[in-house]
Symmetry: C2
């Protein structure tokens, strides 16, 4: 732990320490941020009356803050009138790894668990700006092309945020790794299958205004492209990493 740069890394505590296969753990902010910024969907764990809930939702990062749409957690905050502890997890699934024993079967992945206290964004100007950036983070420049929220829409949308108190990344990025005696001793065909999440060709709205072209901000949305790579590019265009 002595080699951890405290400015560029998250503090390691019992909360975020990677325990199972601990050599896969990373605590530097650059690694954590890169995994977060390549994603659009996260899973958020929170507690209501002692019971855990795990909700998938869209999210994004700004500095050391994470933002997302309100979910059931927002009801709890409204009821309790204060913040609530959450764990926001992002997982990229990169490969299936078939080994010669069950024990060494694995998957390659890049995951982050980020811990903090969620709160509702109450300030109206801040909320409106965040709603625009949520769109722009995915589709650069799009907030300037679309209709702005009506008062009812604005009210119906809850924006949640949290500061990252601590976080850890966990990465497996290896090929088949077997016990030495199994390579020749076990006649089981073994391989790694890459797994990627990709986009297809756009299906235009059937009520498109004739003659409207694809906006410039969509240049990275090439059919067949990896979503994690698109999200990394569009993130960089909006937040100038």
């Amino acid at each position: 732990m002595a080699d951890i740069d405290t400015a560029a890394s998250y503090p390691i505590t019992d909360v975020n320490r990677v325990k199972r296969v601990h050599e896969r753990g990373r605590y530097d902010k650059a690694t954590v941020h890169a995994i977060l910024d390549a994603a659009l969907v996260c899973h958020i764990a929170y507690v209501i009356e002692g019971r855990p809930y795990c909700t998938p939702t869209g999210f994004w990062r700004e500095g050391e803050h994470l933002y997302w749409h309100g979910s059931s957690a927002s009801r709890m905050i409204r009821t309790q009138g204060k913040g609530v502890e959450v764990c926001l997890t992002v997982t990229h699934f990169d490969a299936l790894v078939m080994a010669r024993s069950g024990f060494h079967h694995s998957i390659n992945y890049r995951a982050v668990m980020a811990f903090g206290t969620a709160h509702i964004i109450e300030d109206k100007d801040e909320k409106l700006a965040l709603m625009d950036r949520f769109i722009d983070r995915i589709y650069p420049g799009r907030s300037g092309l679309i209709r702005q929220p009506t008062p009812q829409e604005f009210k119906a949308t809850t924006m949640m945020g949290m500061q990252i108190d601590t976080a850890s990344a966990k990465i497996r990025d290896k090929h088949v790794s077997d016990e030495e005696e199994d390579y020749e001793g076990v006649p089981a065909w073994s391989a790694l299958y890459p797994v990627t999440q990709v986009i297809g060709a756009p299906s235009e709205c059937v009520r498109q205004i004739p003659g409207l072209g694809i906006p410039e901000g969509m240049v990275d949305f090439e059919p067949g492209a990896r979503l994690d790579e698109i999200m990394t590019k569009t993130y960089g265009k909006t937040f100038d990493t």
Copy 2:
């Protein structure tokens, strides 16, 4: 709620009721099972000392039971000597939907939240059989091709299970849906981009025994195929749905 078949559906309570955009909620077991059985990775929420954690891991279903590898939760169970409440969530991300207002931007998805009490599988025969089925559920017949666990490997692996007490599915499967006046009033190009998770061509282990062919059980692992479709097929071969 009167039209819910209690044998074929999960009971609707405050725990599993879909609140936000409630018309997307489904409670029938056929829908919930299909979403679970098309997946290999889930996110599990659990509570340690009042704090929520959200951990990604591999899992599968057998009837009304879900199984996965031990994670931090297993340490807590060992410490506490009893079961722990969890929420196991599966999410398939199917499309990006770009509308003419921020409010109507959306994603298409199929998600399940399953609630229950996790326990460690202590019975050795049951645990060994589950370890085999975890492999076979992904790669049909593979447990018969690979080396069986050593005593150390068996001990180092924690198998967790839970009965589904209740669950709900939430699905969005729609194209662009805007306010009527926005279709002509807002000149923003709008479209749906399909999102799929696919496998690539296998990268064989460099120490493959010469002459070994791809096992018959891998027939569904066609490069370019959707992982959710492969998992649905391989599930059916192992569990004969």
